[in-house]
């Protein structure tokens, strides 16, 4: 293989480097404090007494109240809270698998292969990014309804396995096009077909883009509200974002405490997923470093 890990020289422990490093940390932390203030607020607000949540500017609660979390964990109308987490997890992980597989395959073809209809097809692919999705819903719904698939996860997942998230196809196309062609041409001469080039050369090098796709897909499906709202009917199939809104129905009650409690709880898995995967992102990139 022509890839070789890049040796990163350890920074010299000279005093000057150390003070620069300190300045960097100070700057980064200061910026973070500003950016994370609102996030912190969501966390502290979740333990505020109910009447303080929407009327107080203060970051800290006057007294700590865990009742929001209590209500959140009680679940909704006989559906326990863990169920919503499990549903969200199934949908998000399913979407990740679907997007990573289907988008990388399509991206390879668009980026590396020359074939008839490539130009128009690429234009269509980009065109689908531009579509406002709300308006496609009704024809799509009608289709899934005719197929008897409403109130299943199929309408929410099928598109992911068919590379309809053109955002990720385009993202990977951009990455593949930036990989040196010499690698796959050498492989082609060595007798590899496109499937092997894709599987053995492009895919490993594409790792940062694949992980990026996995992260975004996970987070976005985790937060997706509209499609589950439309397609799911049985409350025991609801994912978290649907459950969340049931705490703040404008016609019956506005339990912001429970809503924020549930929000905080639902943030934890995404944070965990992000932390775990972005580590891979960096390691992946470090080991796939190329000699141009």
């Amino acid at each position: 293989m022509t890839t070789t890990p890049v040796q990163i020289p350890a920074p010299a422990a000279a005093p000057r480097a150390r003070s620069r490093s300190l300045a960097w940390h100070v700057g980064a932390v200061a910026l973070l404090l500003v950016l994370l203030y609102p996030v912190l607020w969501v966390f502290t607000a979740s333990v505020k007494p109910a009447d303080e949540i929407i009327s107080s500017f203060d970051l800290l609660p006057s007294k700590v109240s865990w009742s929001g979390f209590g209500t959140a964990l009680d679940g909704i109308a006989e559906v326990p809270a863990w169920r919503f987490f499990t549903n969200s997890l199934i949908l998000s992980l399913g979407s990740v698998v679907g997007n990573v597989l289907s988008c990388s395959i399509a991206a390879y073809a668009f980026a590396r292969l020359r074939f008839r209809g490539r130009g128009p097809m690429f234009a269509i692919m980009i065109g689908t990014i531009l579509l406002p999705t709300h308006l496609l819903l009704i024809p799509q719904y009608t289709m899934f309804q005719k197929a008897g698939l409403v109130d299943t996860y199929v309408p929410l997942l099928l598109g992911k396995f068919l590379a309809t998230d053109a955002f990720f196809v385009f993202l990977m196309v951009q990455f593949v096009r930036n990989l040196p062609r010499s690698l796959d041409e050498a492989a082609l001469i060595d007798g590899c077909g496109h499937f092997r080039i894709f599987g053995h050369i492009v895919l490993p090098l594409l790792r940062p883009a694949l992980i990026t796709t996995a992260i975004f897909t996970f987070i976005w499906s985790w937060n997706d509200f509209f499609a589950p709202l439309i397609y799911l009917q049985s409350p025991e199939k609801y994912p978290l974002p649907l459950a969340l809104r049931l705490f703040v129905d404008s016609t019956s009650s506005q339990d912001y405490g429970a809503m924020l409690g549930m929000s905080v709880l639902s943030l934890l898995p995404v944070i965990a997923f992000f932390v775990a995967f972005q580590r891979l992102l960096i390691e992946g990139a470090a080991t796939s470093g190329l000699k141009g």
């Binding site: 969501v42 074939f115 099928l158 077909g193």
Partner: protein, 322 residues
């Protein structure tokens, strides 16, 4: 199975070709087509069924009077005529949307690139920083985010107090028709995580030796940024630019959630997509809403096409050297 034999068959021909840098497809002809179509099968099915068919249906709807429940009635260009000439709401929402696109897109990209460059380091704790800087984007345009944003940009809030300390007295942005859109811009810029991660991933792809070579040539940090980082990053700069622009044009969630679905104050956050949504789901004027969708699609499509056309001049693909 069929594709296996064709690719195998293609290789001897490829071997015969003596110029390895030549376009492989030209040499391999139909066989290349075949494997490309195999690779594209899932995408083609998905696009045809889930996007193109519904799209064509909405194109048809745009020439009809359609209320979702009765059969569509053909009215020719009436919808387009009305939206171009007779609907003051279209004019207002287009103004709001364009302002948002022009302000939010460059600011968000700049924030994302700035932080990505800051974090593209081998310093200790980089994993922590990357996760922490992404945190705002995890919240999304949720009800939680809406509550915080309202409190942050109300009169007498932290932001108001902070700006006041510098002698800038704007009052609460959220309730001021002149500033409310900027609070949405701020929300979008604050959630710079997605383009940042993409920039970071691309920064990792830049071969170290390019920087080393530039350094040997005596290039300073700025010079290295301009002559190595920017060109090497140009495919993803282009990607992020297109995507963020398109997203800005389609902005809906944050405006909807922050204004309780009214587009207020006084219509100042009433964006085009919100109007579309109201027409479709509140008024059931699906035909008219479809016409608005197609006009949006056309405008964004033309802008994107122009970006693609001009991209050849500044976007550089390492895998496609001429």
């Amino acid at each position: 199975m069929a594709s296996t034999t064709t690719t195998d068959a293609a290789i001897p021909r490829a071997r015969r070709g003596d110029a390895p840098s030549a376009e492989p497809a030209k040499r391999r002809g139909r066989a290349g087509d075949r494997s490309a179509y195999v690779f594209l099968t899932p995408w083609m099915i998905g696009a045809a069924l889930l996007t193109i068919a519904p799209m064509l249906f909405s194109l048809y709807m745009s020439f009809t009077d359609y209320n979702l429940f009765d059969a569509p009635r053909w009215i020719g260009l009436d919808n387009y005529r009305r939206l171009l000439f007779d609907d003051p709401e279209v004019r207002d929402t287009v103004g709001v949307t364009l302002l948002y696109v022009v302000v939010a897109t460059p600011l968000k990209l700049a924030a994302a690139l700035g932080v990505a460059l800051l974090l593209n380091t081998r310093r200790k704790g980089r994993n922590f920083y990357r996760a922490a800087f992404y945190m705002p984007s995890l919240i999304g345009a949720s009800v939680g985010a809406a509550i915080v944003w309202r409190l942050l940009f109300s009169t007498g809030s932290v932001v108001d107090g902070f700006l006041g300390a510098f002698g800038v007295h704007t009052g609460g942005w959220i309730s001021d028709p002149d500033w409310s859109l900027m609070s949405l811009v701020a929300l979008s810029v604050w959630q710079f995580g997605a383009p940042m991660v993409i920039f970071l991933a691309a920064l990792q792809q830049i071969p170290r030796d390019l920087y080393e070579a530039a350094e040997i040539d005596g290039a300073g940090p700025w010079r290295r940024f301009v002559s190595v980082t920017v060109p090497m990053l140009s495919p993803v700069i282009f990607f992020n630019l297109v995507l963020e622009m398109v997203h800005a044009f389609q902005m809906f969630n944050s405006a909807f959630v922050l204004s309780n679905g009214t587009g207020g104050p006084a219509g100042s956050t009433h964006v085009y997509s919100m109007y579309l949504y109201e027409l479709g789901f509140n008024d059931f004027r699906m035909g008219y809403a479809a016409a608005l969708t197609w006009v949006l699609l056309l405008v964004v499509g033309v802008i994107t096409a122009v970006l693609f056309k001009t991209s050849g001049r500044w976007v550089h693909y390492a895998g496609e050297e001429k």
